[in-house]
């Protein structure tokens, strides 16, 4: 069958995009958590094994990845609060748009506080 040209992307607004981001971050965190539990389990095997693996984490690339993870968690958490306000606060639905922007603002502030410390640790901490 011939392939049809695709329809366009739905041009949703803040509500839709914040949900997309929430879903993507939730998904990412879950897979990080899998890996994280697995590697931490190595403490049970032996300190050497654990330190070896953790050691490989201590390169700048992993450091950046870690920053990404923190970003994901921070966004997911903040937006999670927004979602709960939408769900339980009687006026939450009316202010959801404003709350999205507050989430974004808080996210930026928190990351601005965290990133310098973290990156400092990653790149200068040896």
């Amino acid at each position: 069958m011939p392939e049809a040209p695709a329809g366009t992307l739905y041009r949703g607004r803040e509500g839709m995009w914040s949900w997309v981001a929430h879903r993507v971050t939730g998904f990412l965190i879950f897979f990080f958590l899998l890996v994280h539990v697995l590697d931490t389990s190595l403490v049970r095997v032996s300190p050497e094994a654990y330190n070896a693996v953790i050691g490989t984490y201590k390169n700048p690339i992993m450091g950046l990845g870690e920053a990404g993870l923190v970003a994901a968690v921070v966004y997911h958490a903040l937006n999670g609060v927004r979602v709960m306000l939408v769900d339980f606060w009687s006026r939450g639905t009316r202010y959801q748009r404003q709350m999205t922007w507050i989430v974004v603002a808080l996210f930026v502030i928190l990351m601005a506080g965290f990133l310098p410390v973290h990156l400092g640790n990653v790149f200068g901490g040896e």
Binding site: R23, G26, F27, I29, F30, L33, L34, V37, L38, T40, S41, V43, R44, S46, P47, E48, Y50, N51, I54, Y57, K58, G63, E66, V70, V73, A77, G80, V81, V83, M84, D87, F88, F114, V117, H118, G120, N121, V122, G125, E126
Partner: protein
């Protein structure tokens, strides 16, 4: 006759629960666990990544040092369980949304269940059976209190 309007609280019909409330509980759980995780994870991240020396300071000694205190054992165990249930439940929703074919859905759900079980069991065992000073390990890798005794 003075007319007055009756006030009945909504919803106004006899309670007759037939359908199981699974989706309802799962939805409530997502919010409750989310709220708890918020505190648990932020403290976890803060202690691990910010205070002290950040990631670069994490090693066996650091972990063992933390888990020697029951508070942190319970703390991390809670994170493990809540996050895994929360995340797995979230993934279940995602799978339901995108995997329209029953076959695909069942496969993915199976994978999810296995991953969930392995990680939760493994993680729990590690936290509980963990010994901070495994015999025979080089002392410089262990937390300082191992040698103090």
């Amino acid at each position: 006759m003075a007319a007055s309007t009756p006030t009945l609280a909504a919803p106004r019909s006899p309670r007759r629960a037939r359908r199981p409330n699974t989706e309802l509980y799962s939805w409530v759980f997502m919010r409750a666990s989310g709220a708890l995780l918020l505190i648990l994870i932020f403290v976890h991240l803060f202690t691990n990544l910010v205070s002290g020396g950040g990631v670069s300071a994490i090693d066996f000694g650091f972990v063992a040092g933390k888990w020697a205190k029951p508070v942190w054992q319970v703390w991390d165990l809670l994170i493990l369980w809540l996050a895994m249930i929360h995340g797995a439940n979230g993934l279940r929703t995602i799978i339901n949304d995108y995997a329209t074919r029953t076959g695909t859905r069942l496969t993915l759900m199976g994978l999810l269940a296995v991953a969930f079980a392995v990680v939760v069991v493994l993680g729990t065992l590690v936290i509980f059976t963990f010994s901070p000073c495994p015999p025979g390990a080089p002392a410089d890798l262990l937390p300082s209190f191992c040698t103090a005794g």
